[in-house]
Structures are given as C-alpha cells and as structure tokens.
C-alpha cells in the first residue's frame, strides 16, 4: 500500500513539473515573418526591422514574437541576429543615434529595449553582464523602477514614438536621454519612459490620462510635442513630457487637442504623420474613412482642419514622403482593400493607388541621405502585410510556419516600376 502511495505522489510531482504552462508552445521561427505589424529602417537604409506578433498564438506566448532583421540589399531575413520578443508586439522605433530599438508588446504590457549593432546589422538584448542575447528576458520594461511598488506600464501598450534629448550636467558632461512615448489601446493613458543613455536600470516613467484608445504617436518636427491618435475618441491630443535636470521624467503636460468631428464621438483615428515643415498634420480615421488635413500655425499653436479627403476601406498608417520631384505626397495604407492610396494633400487629389497584398498595415520609406533625392535614385518603401499568404485562395490557417509578408515598393518616379511592388519578403 505504501509503495502505491509513493508512486502516486511521485507521479503527481513529475506531472506537475511536466505540465507547467511556462513552457507550452514552440519558439517562433527566426527565418520567417509571422503576422508582421511594426516596421523600422536603420537610418542608412541597409537594414529593415520587422515586428512579428504571433497573433494566432501558435507559439510560446512569452517569447512568441520576433523582430526580424532584414538586409534590404538581399531582401533576406538574418535569423541569427533576429531576437525573440513577447507576443503581440506592436510598433518599433529607433532612437536618434540608432543605438537602441524600442518595441511595444502587449503580452505582458512591456516595452522591449534592444541594442542595435553599429551598422544596424543585428538586434540583441544586452544583458547586465554585457552579453548579447536573442532572449529578451533582461530587456523587458514593464515596471519602473523594477522593484515591488514600482509603477506598472498600463494595459496594451501599442503606439510608440521616440525622441532623444540632451541634458548637460554641472560638470559639463552630456547625457542623451531617450524619451519613449507609448500609447495604450485600452484605457486612456499615455506614458513616457525616460532612458538615460538607453539604460534600463536608470529609467523613469510617468503616465497621464489623455486620450481613449491611443493608437499611433508622432512628434511634431522641431518640437517635443507628441500627438496621439485615439480609437475611442474624436480628438487628437498633444502633450509634452517634462524632464527635470536630472534626466527624469516628472510630468506629462497636456498642451491641447484637435477635434476631428463634431458629429461622431469615436472616429477611430489610426495613423498620423507630419509634413516636413511641421505645419501640416495628416490623420487617418476609420469612422469615417477619411484623411484629415490639419494646418498648424506655429506662432500661436493654432490647429485647424482645412480639408478632409475620403479614403478607401479602413486606413491604417499615414506616411509623408517628399519624392524626388520635390512633391510632398501622403501615403495611406488601406487595410481592407489591400492598397496604398497616394494623395497630393495640397491639391486634395488622389494621384495613385498601389496594390500591395493582403492587409497592409505600417509603411516605412527609406529616408537615408543617398536615397530618393533625385529621379533615378534608389527609393523604396516597405509595408507590412499582416496576413498575406501570397495567394487569394489561401488563408493563414492553410499556411505553416507563419503568415504575412513585407512588400517592397518602388518609389523612384523615373522607374518603370514606380508605385509597384517589386518584391515580397516572407
């Protein structure tokens, strides 16, 4: 009898160890895109970073996503330098000197801080011991300071914008501080996390209730005004974080709001972007499907909607690009229609549409100094195709080892493939 009890106890013990949820699911493949969402380009345009979200949770939740590093010359994913991140990653942004990449993830409501290699050829998590790892474990920021009682990052961090400021200490030493501004899909918070020299251990954080269902964030050129588009409101709110001389964020100061509609309470604002001069703000909403053109008078901070341009189904991202002819164009991804609409905002006309594939989400355009200057220069855009399978007959459920793609678009006006997809990366 005793032996049976012993066996039963031992069996139960081993079963408990073997069935731990922590180790359920596989690691995601690092040579494949998997429900890509956010994109970022290294400043010299050589490397593209793609956030893979593991949206169908087919992989282990806590490290179900990756940030693919793609060589834009070969259009190949570099698996060895592609780190893991938690599932439900959102946006990715680099700091000013491209030494850090920040990624929002909603699995455990965290921001992942990744080290960017010198030429951008690799992303990794820099452990406290200085070792570069693909495991994000020591690069996750969900509580600041990371001790009991520390402030917790709010639910569903999604939108992201990074600005770098400089603080000069009494002895003349300068510290670069990355201000990572985060919007939250749930609730009404916006959050600023200050990382002196990109270091997690020295971070400080503040949150404020400003906009319901925050989506994208963008900083107005030449300022530290951050504008947030909200899904569950009819406003775009702009704010400034206040950073004290010690480099800590002390407050978030609400500077104003722009009403996008007087008749609809929740316009589901998605993407927003500024013109180069900072005097025009473009906001895409889904209720209704519209691009709002907002003029800004920098002398008195007055913001006025000067026109609205109807869009196709479910716009997502807005990118402003001055092409090689010197014309400022606005590119808007249409999630429903699988296209990018190209708009001349000054003329208020649709100048082109680009068929890209299924569910285009975010677009980035190569802004490196030697690209897109003149007709004939190499000029490319990259757009994440959230659930593109390459075939209208196939759904993501029919495809193994990941779904989605990144389309490469030719933006050289002199090229015969101008405004066409020239490649897809999977």
């Amino acid at each position: 009898m005793k032996s049976w009890v012993t066996i039963a106890v031992l069996f139960g013990l081993f079963s408990a160890l073997g069935c731990s949820d922590q180790y359920k699911g596989t690691l995601p493949p690092r040579d494949r895109l998997n429900y890509p969402i956010g994109l970022a380009l290294h400043p010299d345009g050589r490397f593209l970073y793609v956030v893979n979200s593991n949206f169908d949770m087919s992989h282990r939740e806590e490290v179900g996503g990756t940030v693919s590093v793609i060589d834009t010359e070969t259009l190949q994913i570099l698996p060895a330098v592609t780190p893991y991140i938690p599932s439900f990653g959102g946006y990715i942004k680099l700091n000013r000197d491209a030494t850090r990449a920040y990624v929002t993830t909603r699995h455990a409501n965290e921001v992942i801080v990744l080290d960017v290699a010198g030429q951008g050829q690799a992303l990794s998590c820099l452990t406290p011991g200085g070792v570069r790892s693909s495991d994000p474990d020591t690069c996750r920021v969900g509580r600041v300071p990371d001790v009991q009682g520390g402030a917790v990052l709010g639910s569903d961090p999604f939108g992201l914008e990074v600005a770098t400021i400089t603080r000069t200490e009494a002895n003349g030493d300068q510290t670069l501080i990355d201000l990572v501004n985060v919007s939250h899909l749930r609730g009404s918070q916006v959050t600023t996390i200050a990382f002196p020299n990109g270091e997690i251990g020295a971070a400080s954080m503040r949150s404020a209730a400003l906009v319901a269902g925050g989506n994208q964030i963008a900083v107005r050129p030449g300022s530290l005004d951050f504008y947030v588009a909200g899904r569950s409101t009819n406003q775009v709110v702009y704010f400034q974080p206040y950073v004290n001389p010690a480099g800590q964020v002390e407050a978030i100061v609400r500077r104003g709001a722009i009403a996008l509609s007087n008749g609809i309470e929740a316009v589901d604002a998605r993407g927003l972007a500024f013109g180069q001069s900072g005097r025009r703000l473009y906001v895409a909403t889904r209720r209704p499907n519209t691009l709002h053109v907002i003029a800004i008078d920098p002398n008195n901070a007055r913001h006025e909607i000067v026109s609205t341009i109807s869009l196709g189904g479910r716009p997502s991202d807005v990118v402003v690009h001055s092409d090689a002819n010197g014309d400022e164009l606005v590119y808007v991804t249409g999630y429903n229609d699988g296209i990018i609409e190209v708009i001349d905002p000054r003329a208020g006309v649709l100048v082109d549409t680009i068929a890209v594939g299924s569910s285009p989400y975010q677009l980035v355009i190569d802004q490196s100094p030697d690209r897109c200057r003149y007709p004939g220069d190499s000029c490319r855009g990259y757009v994440s195709l959230f659930n593109d399978t390459g075939s209208a007959a196939l759904r993501c459920d029919d495809v193994e080892n990941g779904c989605g793609a990144v389309a490469v678009i030719d933006l050289d006006p002199a090229s015969p493939t101008y405004h066409q997809v020239i490649a897809k990366i999977r």
Binding site: G263, A295, S307, R346, G348, V349
Partner: protein, 811 residues
C-alpha cells in the same frame, strides 16, 4: 355557422372582403426595396432637360431596355446622377416623385446596376439640355461623357492633369454651352465646348446601342494656369464667369469664360478663359488657411465661400466683385464684437450652395408684391445643413401681363433679364448707410416700376418663433448704509429693489412718469433687429404699405446675467496681488501682469492698495506715513490714476481733506512696499456694467504697450460704464440709470437675466462629412435638399415641400 349560412350575411362578408382587397393597394404605393449599392457617393448632378425617365417598375426599380423618353411639353427631366467613388460607377435616381428612387439599370444582373465610368470618379455635371452628363475620373485622369438617352458611357477623354471639379457654363446669347474642368498638378482651368446628343432612334436595347450615336464631339480645350491649388469652383448662372477658390491662397479668382465677359474689363484678356481679377477673402496678414468650398445662387447675385478653419461663410457681391464685410453690413454693425468677415456657422462648415427664394405675396391691378430671400445652404460636419441668409427684399412691382413662371424665373436668364421683375433683383452695395439711421429709409430703393425694401442679414436665419427677452425681476445688493438712509426717507423698515427712491438701471425713458415700484419695469431694452417690409393692401385699399418689424436681435444675445455696480471693482483687478511700486518713480505702479487696457482702466479711476504696510505683523518706521489713524479704514491707500499704459499706472495723491486719503505717493522707501501688493481699481461716480459671460467690455486694447481704441469702437456699444441719470448702450442692451432720491452708495448693485432664443434654421442630413450640398427648386414634386457624403454609403435627400417626412437616405 348560423351567421355564415345566412345569404345576406355571406353577401355582406364577401363585399367587405372584396372592398378591402381593392382598397389595400390604393392606401400605400409599394416602394421597391433595393440592396444597398452606393459606395462612397461623392458627387451628384441632376439632369433637368429634354430627357425623362420612363416609369420605374415597382418590383425591381427597373426601367426597361429601351432608350429614355423625350419629356412631354411643359415637363422637364429629373434624373439624378450619383458618382460612386469606390466602385467606379454612376448611380441613377429618379427625382420626379415625392421621394427619390434609385434605378436599377439592368435587372438581368444581380444587385443594382449602375453606369460604369473610369477609376475613382469624383465629380459629375449635367448639361442644361439634359442629354449629356460628364464624369471626371481622378485616377485615370479622364473625362467620361454619358449619353443620357441611353444611360451609357461614351469614350473617355484624357485630361491634362488630375481632375478636381467639373461644371457646366450655360450658353449665353450667341454662345455654346461650355464644359469647365478644374485640374490639379498642375493647377489649371480647362474650358471646351460641351456636347449634345440627339434622341436615338430604333433602340432595341440601350445596353448595347452605340453610346455616341447622334452625339456631337467635345470641343478643343483651352487652358488657363491658376495661381494656387484649386479647392472648388462655381460658375455664374449665365455662364459668363467662373469663381475659383484655393486651398492655399486667401483670395478668389474671377475667370472670364466668354468673349462677352472679357469685353470692357480692365484685365488684359484676349481669350477665354482668362482671370479677370482676384478678390481678397481675408485680412492681409491673416494666415493662409485657404478655403474649402464655393457656391453661387441661381441668380448670380452672391457668391458664398466656406472658410472652414474659421467656421464661417463669406459673402461676395458678384456684380461688384467685392467681399461683403458682414460685421459692418448688418444693422446695427456687429463690430467690435465680431472678428469674422463672414457669418459664423455652428460647427465646422464644409460645403455650400446658394439659393434665392421667391414668394409672390399679392397680385392685383397690374402690381405684385414679391418677397425674396438670398442665402445659402451650408452643410457642416455634425449632420446638419444650415441656412445662412445674406439679405431679404420686398418688392412692389408694376407690370403688364403675368409674372414669370417659377421655372422661367430660375432657369431662363434671358427671360428674367428682359422681364420687369429684373427691377426687383438689384443688390445694393453693403454696408447701406450710417449705422445710426433710425428711419430705415436708406433701405428703400425706388425704380421706375419697382419699390424695393432691402434688409441686410448676413447671418444664420433664426428658426425659432420665440424671441430673446429679459427674464424675471432684477435682484439687488444694497449696502446697509443705503438701506438706513432709505428708511429715514421713506419711513419704511424694508426696502425693495424696485423702490423708486433708489438709483437703478431701467428701460424707463427720461421724462416718463415714475411708477410707485420699478420692480416690474424691464431693466433694459434689448437690441432690436429691424426690418423694412412692404405689406399687401388691406380691405378695399390698393396701396402697398410700408412697415417696420422690430424684434430682439436674438443672434446677438447671450444667455447671461448682467450686473450693474456703483463704483464696483474692475473684475480683472479684484484678486490681484502682484502690483509693484516702481523702483525708480514713486508715482508709477506696475499692474503685475494684467493688461490694464483690456481691464478697462481709465484715467480718473482710483487705485487702492489693500491691507496695511506691514512686515511680520508690524509697520516699519519707513511706512508710518502710509498708515491711517483709523485702523478700521480699508481704503486709506487710495490714489487717483492720472495716466496708464498696458503695464503700469501713473498715480497722483487725492488732495481732498474730507476724504482723508494718504497724502504721499507709494515709494520703495517704505520697506513694506518692496514686494507684490494687493490692490483694486474702481471708477469714480460711475456704474460698472459686467456680463456674466461677456465680462467687462473694454473700449481700448493693448497695441505695442499703449491703450488704443478697439477697432469698431466707433460704432458704439463697446463700453462698460454708466452714469446716474444717463443712458447706457451695451453690446446688445440699452438702459438708463434712474436717479431716484438717494445718492448711490459704493458697491450697490443690480442684476438681471437675459435669455437668448436663437436657433439657427437647420435641416438634418446625417452626413458626417458631406462632400457636396445641392438645393433644387421646382422639381416635379417638390424642392430637394441633397447632400452626398464620400465617406459614407448614402446620400441624404429631403423634400422641403414635404417637411414632415424629414431627411431620407438613398443607399
């Protein structure tokens, strides 16, 4: 069973059943229920010419396969063409009935069939003969003519740019109807002769019949470069000129479209199209927000421009090519209280269309009395369409024969120009006359055969019958000293606010007998909006009478209370504690951050430094001169203000031994004055008039640190002070301070409430972002107000001749 078996009962029952069966269809006309087929309806045009739709079938809303019909004599078409931006087609709707009805052009295909056009169509225009319509396709950069006899597209024509707008310029005498297209990238205007299609014969199936059979060709295009990015254009009803507004220029271009329009113009134009001139639509230093939309009324009198950034509609006198300053043109002028050049529209106005209503009030003995209202329908982003009126006019007209029919009046420009009624349609130059003209004679214009009374409005029209008013009785705050004096005078223990012994604001005129109580007397007279009207003859008389209608100017009023206080504290100085004695000049006192011009301070007012000059509870020896022997006295440190700028005051000692104020100017020599000081400022022997929301209306403003008169202050009403026994004119009210038998005492006050009853005339559209608004008079069964929305999947349509039905949506 017994009942049924009875023959008489069976017969009765059968008759009842038969009667219901016959009556049921007649009680309601079944409307075909079509699946939704509009997708981003961006624009609409209505063909009202020779072509009429055949009867639309009740089951599937189809019209058969034959060509459309020539309208019968006296009839005109009512074919709506709706551009679907996202599905690259044009839907057809029948507007000949009480309600609009989408038409399915092909019942053999699933869903509702429309006319296919090019990619991303954004605009449509219909020729006046109703045989051809034109669709501009933005992505293709083409123009698709539509043969309306067949409802089929003809071959698309390439355009030299990205099309933005399309319009028809009517054929004037000796001219051909023209097609006007506004292009972007680059910005230009293109003009060409329009097409005409003859009624096709032997059409067995219009779906396969050659679309361009019997149609003329489009003329060659002539092009004019434009100075900025086109936002919208409107064409004068006679087709002579076009008006263009821009998204990045604060001006409007007037473009000549015909040779006749160019003749006699100072502009160096030899060929149409040519820019005849440019009209500034904003102040010279205003930011270039641009404009979003433009419309013109059917008579071509006023052009209306939407200034979305400033939530206003601007009025342009088309004949004089001048912007009308609405604040000056209204009577009395709205300056200095309005900074807008146009009429403010609630919420964000987006699109506009002009209109002129014409109502014949009376006819007899070769004369008629006609009322006209000139204005525009403005669609905003809150699901509403507002009516903004420019002016209204009553015209007594002498004429032989009949007046023009409604259709001829609105559609036949030549007939209207040749008719006697043309004398009623003169628009004078605004503003009409000096603002203080009380007789309104300046609004009467007499011609050889017409007498016209004109009333400028330039504002949203009031839809509410109720007028603004003063509410209830006034309340008062009476100092104890005054109550005591009044008791001595009257022998009464209590004192009511309406006691005639008290000085108080009242609408009572000087010289009028004073009742025993002023409590029921209105405290003020509200600003009136006066209209000169012509009235039909009464009884057996044949004389058209003149009359003046006067009612509270509701638009100008605010829901607020007004408080009139004798020697009250200027509100901006009430809680200030940062006044600073100048370091170098004893007579100078820094205001401490408040704009003294905007605070309404005037020379002659008195400043009082509050509190005792103490440091740590004790008066320093250096401050002994600034302490009164009477420790209860709070106003000892009172000075007269003899000069001021926006930031500082020049003070002087008040040399009146009886008042016993301090006899030394404040100085930093007193140690307690080396810090921020609490102070207030009061007028002397004057009443301050302050609105709860309007605040204190200053006469001056800060310009470069100096106080100068506010722009528009010359029109009066920009003041905040009254004197006992004298009249006061405020922003929208007048009163007189009744003297009473007692002198007023400081801080005695009266408050009264004003109720505003203005509701802008509006119509529901339900469109969050209307891309166009159209008002069509004299369709077969009503007047239709239509708003398509390129961001939605419906068009809002309402028949204003059937207001009880409200707005309906066409999907």
């Amino acid at each position: 069973m017994t009942f049924i078996n009875d023959k008489r009962h069976r017969a009765t029952l059968s008759a009842l059943v038969l009667g219901f069966a016959l009556a049921a269809p007649a009680c309601s006309e079944p409307e075909p229920i079509l699946p939704a087929s509009l997708r981003a309806p961006r624009a609409i045009a209505v063909a009202q010419g020779e072509v009429c739709l055949p009867p639309v079938s009740a089951d599937f809303a189809t019209i058969g396969r034959g060509a459309l019909l020539r309208c019968e004599s006296g009839q005109q078409g009512a074919i709506a063409l709706i551009v679907n931006e996202q599905t690259d087609n044009v839907a057809v709707a029948d507007l000949s009935g009480r309600r609009a009805q989408l038409v399915n052009l092909d019942s053999t295909t699933p869903g509702v069939a429309h006319i296919p056009v090019g990619r991303h169509p954004v605009g449509v225009a219909a020729g006046n003969d109703g045989t051809v319509a034109y669709v501009i396709n933005q992505l293709d950069r083409t123009l698709t003519p539509l043969n309306l006899w067949l409802l089929r597209p003809m071959s698309a024509q390439p355009l030299e740019g990205i099309p933005r707008r399309v319009a028809i310029a009517s054929a004037s005498e000796g001219q051909v109807e023209q097609l006007v297209v506004a292009l972007a990238s680059p910005s230009r205007l293109q003009l060409r002769d329009a097409m005409r299609c003859e009624q096709p014969t032997n059409v067995s199936d219009r779906r396969t019949h050659r679309a361009d059979a019997g149609c003329s060709e489009l003329g060659e295009a002539t092009t004019l470069d434009l100075p900025a990015s086109v936002a919208d254009l409107a064409v004068a009803p006679d087709g002579s000129v076009a008006y263009v507004v821009y998204s990045d220029l604060n001006a409007m271009s007037v473009i000549g479209l015909t040779t006749a329009a160019l003749e006699g113009d100072d502009a160096a134009c030899s060929q149409a199209p040519c820019e005849l001139g440019r009209i500034a639509l904003a102040e010279p230093l205003a930011p270039s927000w641009g404009f979003s939309a433009i419309g013109i009324d059917p008579l071509g009198k006023f052009v209306y421009v939407v200034d979305r950034a400033n939530n206003q509609v601007l009025f342009v006198d088309a004949a004089r090519r001048e912007l009308v300053d609405a604040a000056l043109a209204t009577e009395p002028p709205a300056m200095p209280f309005s900074t807008l050049l146009g009429a403010g529209v609630t919420r964000s106005p987006i699109v506009v269309t002009g209109d002129v209503s014409r109502n014949v009030l009376w006819s007899g003995n070769g004369r008629s009395l006609i009322r006209y209202a000139y204005g525009a329908y403005v669609a905003s982003d809150n699901g509403s369409i507002y009516f903004v009126e420019a002016m209204n006019a009553h015209c007594e007209l002498e004429h032989t024969g009949e007046l023009l029919s409604a259709r001829a009046f609105y559609n036949d420009h030549a007939a209207r120009a040749a008719s006697p009624e043309q004398s009623c349609l003169t628009v004078p130059e605004f503003p009409l006359a000096e603002a203080n003209d009380d007789t309104l004679d300046h609004r009467l214009f007499v011609d050889a055969n017409a007498r016209v009374a004109i009333n400028p409005t330039f504002a949203p029209r009031d839809a509410r019958a109720a007028s603004g008013r003063l509410v209830g009785r006034a309340s008062c705050q009476l100092p104890e000293a005054l109550i005591a004096r009044a008791s001595e005078l009257t022998g009464a223990a209590t004192l009511s606010c309406g006691s005639p012994v008290l000085p108080q604001p009242t609408s009572l005129q000087e010289g009028a007998s004073v009742p025993t109580s002023l409590a029921e007397i209105p405290r003020a007279t509200l600003l009136a909006q006066r209209s000169l009207v012509l009235l039909p003859p009464e009884g057996t008389s044949t004389t058209v009478r003149e009359g003046v209608r006067s009612e509270p100017f509701d638009l100008r009023l605010r829901d607020e209370s007004w408080t009139v206080t004798y020697e009250g504290v200027l509100p901006a100085t009430a809680r200030i504690d940062r006044g600073v004695v100048d370091r170098d000049v004893d007579a100078r006192f820094q205001g401490g951050g408040i704009d003294l011009c905007a605070a309404g301070v005037q020379p002659g007012d008195r400043l009082t430094i509050l509190g005792r000059p103490e440091i740590d509870g004790a008066v320093p020896a250096s401050c002994a001169a600034y302490v009164s022997d009477d420790t209860t006295r709070a106003d000892f440190l009172t000075y007269e203000i003899v000069g001021l700028s926006a930031e500082y005051l020049e003070l002087a000692v008040i040399e009146d031994e009886e008042l016993g104020f301090v006899d030394q100017l404040p100085s930093r020599a007193c140690a307690a004055f080396n810090r921020g000081l609490r102070y207030n400022i009061r007028p002397v022997d004057q009443w301050l008039v302050v609105g709860e929301r309007s605040g204190l209306i200053p006469e001056h403003e800060n310009v470069g640190g100096e106080c100068v008169a506010r722009p528009g202050a010359e029109f009066g009403r920009a003041n905040a002070r009254a004197r006992t026994g004298e009249s006061f004119s405020g922003p929208y009210l007048d009163f007189r301070i009744h003297e009473g038998e007692l002198d007023p005492v400081r801080d005695m006050s009266y408050s009264f409430q004003v109720e505003r009853n203005f509701v802008a005339e509006r119509y529901e559209s339900r469109t969050p972002l209307p891309s166009q608004v159209l008002f069509l008079r004299n369709l077969p069964q009503g007047h239709f107000l239509i708003a398509p929305d390129g961001t939605a999947d419906f068009v809002s349509i309402q028949n204003l001749a059937q207001p009880q039905e409200g707005a309906r949506t066409l999907r």
